[in-house]
Symmetry: C2
Subunit: 454 residues, 2 copies
């Protein structure tokens, strides 16, 4: 079979690329070895947000109960939650399959491996398809990384995929890794009734990709929930032992719990691709390096998690759209992502778009920052969740970045992305009406607040 374009992997990147290329009149084959939707739909963003979204009333009630405005009890039905999650995920997969079919994409279920610079083979249990292509897009994504000494047994030592299938909350849980995956899953665990939660990270703060003040605010909020933290702590070993798990730190300290979740990052999935056959090579960390057009060779693109640029579904989709248009000859300019927002979900939320002050400082620039606390916002008061802040990073009098932490702050993300993209000045914030009363007024207040050296 011969196609203009072969796409490997039907996650957010590969699906979007195949769909867009087909709509541009290109003949497209899409190879997928497991399920449509990839990590995001099946084992990542969507299941996580289903569990966090459905259990959010528990956190909101807890906040009001602390100030005694509301009282009551909420129990989660984990079986129903899992069923609903699976129903949404499978309905979405079905809709994706139909849309691909309608767009004329040839879907090949099976494991793809290159057989040459312009050919690959898709092998399923039943059959084998040889595909010739003019161009290809590798969108094989990433999967949970596990380090030696802490292999998941998927029963008591879990990876994030296992955790999202949880049917019963353990009495105690150790979470190794306090990045966004660890923090989101810890919140789910907390809401589902895990009594004793311990987070372990080799870094000296949680959410190390964020502004240090964000990390500090998160710590302060989570400590109120009686979570324990072991930071700057390296894991020597983690294994199932007795009825639970036993974790030994480099320091010799021993932690025990019913279960452990390992969320120490993700690694690119390129195994089985036979990269050499196409003349490709991964870098030392396993990522496929790409040029300014997202190509890892003259005719082959690598997009999404596998290229190591940005492990976010919406970044992957954005790259996909570019690669599809570039492969179809509709685009010649270098890839320009524009502002790339990110969110840590739950309660509190964290949002970030554009530059952090530390990044600009490290680049030798002299950023300014301005800030507003949520405590003076009437909507934060109404929700009895007043911890948190909004911070604006300025470069030459223009908005270069926005980050925030607190209940509901993800609502700033799109507007903040637009402000970064359009390099807003103070006057833009002054002249624009923000609705009253909204949490958004905290963003306006931060834009208008006194600026200090970043």
């Amino acid at each position: 079979m011969t196609f203009d374009l072969a796409v490997i992997g039907a996650g957010p990147a590969g699906y979007a690329a195949a769909f867009e290329a087909a709509s541009l009149g290109v003949s497209v084959a899409l190879a997928e070895r497991a399920e449509l939707g990839g990590t995001c739909l099946n084992r990542g963003c969507i299941p996580t947000k289903m569990l966090l979204g459905a259990t959010q009333p528990m956190e909101d009630l807890a906040a009001q109960a602390r100030v005694k405005t509301l009282s009551g009890e909420i129990a989660a039905n984990l079986d129903v939650l899992q069923t609903r999650k699976e129903r949404l995920v499978s309905a979405t997969r079905k809709a994706m399959r139909q849309r691909l079919k309608d767009a004329g994409v040839t879907l090949l279920m099976g494991e793809a491996s290159f057989t040459g610079p312009n050919s690959l083979r898709v092998q399923s249990a039943l059959d084998r398809t040889d595909v010739e292509f003019s161009k290809a897009i590798i969108a094989t994504g990433a999967r949970p990384a596990l380090f030696p000494g802490m292999e998941a047994d998927h029963e008591r030592v879990l990876d994030s995929d296992d955790f999202l299938e949880i049917r019963e909350a353990p009495a105690s849980l150790i979470v190794v890794g306090a990045g966004f995956i660890g923090l989101e899953t810890a919140q789910i665990a907390h809401r589902l009734g895990v009594g004793r939660l311990t987070l372990v990270d080799a870094m000296d703060r949680v959410a190390p990709a964020e502004d240090p003040e964000i990390s500090a605010a998160l710590m302060s909020i989570f400590k109120r929930r009686k979570w324990s933290f072991k930071l700057s702590a390296r894991v020597a070993s983690l294994k199932a032992e007795g009825q639970g798990v036993r974790l030994e730190l480099d320091s010799g300290e021993i932690l025990e719990a019913d279960k452990a979740l390992v969320a120490v990052g993700r690694k690119p999935s390129t195994e089985g691709l036979e990269l050499e056959a196409a003349g490709l090579a991964a870098d030392a960390r396993g990522f496929l390096p790409v040029d300014e057009s997202l190509r890892t060779s003259e005719s082959i693109y690598a997009i999404g998690d596998v290229n190591g640029r940005m492990q976010l579904a919406h970044a992957a989709e954005h790259q996909a759209s570019y690669a599809a248009r570039h492969a179809a000859g509709k685009e010649t300019a270098p890839y320009a992502p524009g502002p790339t927002p990110s969110i840590i979900y739950g309660d509190p939320e964290v949002m970030r778009v554009g530059a952090l002050a530390a990044e600009l400082l490290a680049a030798g620039e002299s950023p300014e920052v301005s800030k507003a606390m949520l405590v003076s916002n009437p909507i934060a008061q109404a929700h009895a969740s007043t911890q948190g802040f909004v911070k604006v990073v300025w470069r030459d009098g223009r908005v270069a970045g926005v980050t925030a932490v607190g209940t509901g702050v993800s609502r700033f993300t799109v507007a903040a992305s637009m402000m970064v993209q359009e390099r807003w000045r103070r006057e833009d914030a002054e002249s624009m009406m923000f609705p009253h009363p909204t949490l958004d007024e905290a963003l306006k207040e931060a834009l208008l607040a006194e600026r200090k050296a970043g």
Copy 2:
């Protein structure tokens, strides 16, 4: 006493005008007969949002309980809620007073009345101050309108001010007026346990200022909550009778309930101002007409609810900033509000900014509309609140308006305002990364959806 500027009324408009003028170096007197903060802080947006915000977990739990993911009970403690609300309001008033003092504004507590085109008198119970001014700003706001035949007795026939002081939920309530005030207070009543709710309106739909499809969506959602509606229904009389209230419609139909709330709009507050002494006159509806610089005479401005332009606190503040700068000689261009967003709070929320399709059609234009339903959004699914939609109004291929209804849609407001202000094209939405998964993706989907004649 002589001042450059005299401001009458310390609500959102008057407070902001006095503060900003003082910060521009103008000498300012601010007269207030009751409380700092006006309707919004004391009897409007803030108390309403405190009650709606605090009780939101009840609605969220109800949504999850319908799909059986969560179960439980939540009770509101109305005394604590009222105390918290009063504490926030009084702390805000105190902070306002301090800020005015720090800015050098002379606060005169008492009833202001003009004594000439450049003079007024402020009369309190204890004393009287005569003020000479170069310029004045009237920002006296509005108050609940009551029509003959349905006067509030403040015990059983309530106005919205009375309702916000509620300490005990009546078993049944009639709400006269299904505009935003009626709808927000009905939602509070519902959450606080009012068993039987009946909304009455002379119009043929609820939220008549909104797009008709929004009204229909609201009706559908509220009918699920077993609310009764009497639309296209005029009230002949409403009065306390027996243990409750008795409402007679023009049709002769009789409605009975424990209490009634009259929310049939608001009328401008100009009584006692002695407008004639300054050579001013209100229009037939009682509003102070203004020119393109928000002036009702050569030297006197009228801003906020009293000029009848837009009954919104943030619109009032925006006008205030302009009037302060214009009065201080820092601004000469005509007043340009830019996009003016509005929100109906609660669950669902309604947001709107820019033009409605019907407005453009009425002006002889040929708008297009595009739309996305919330049901396909994973965050709406996670919150088990999937009713609602986003609608974009286009004029000449540019975004002219955005409106939405559904749980949490107020989060679109600031970004949508920016899109209207910058007259976004389809390509702007295509090139911009929206975070995944967020409710915001429904806005993007609406921007990219097929357009039809509006």
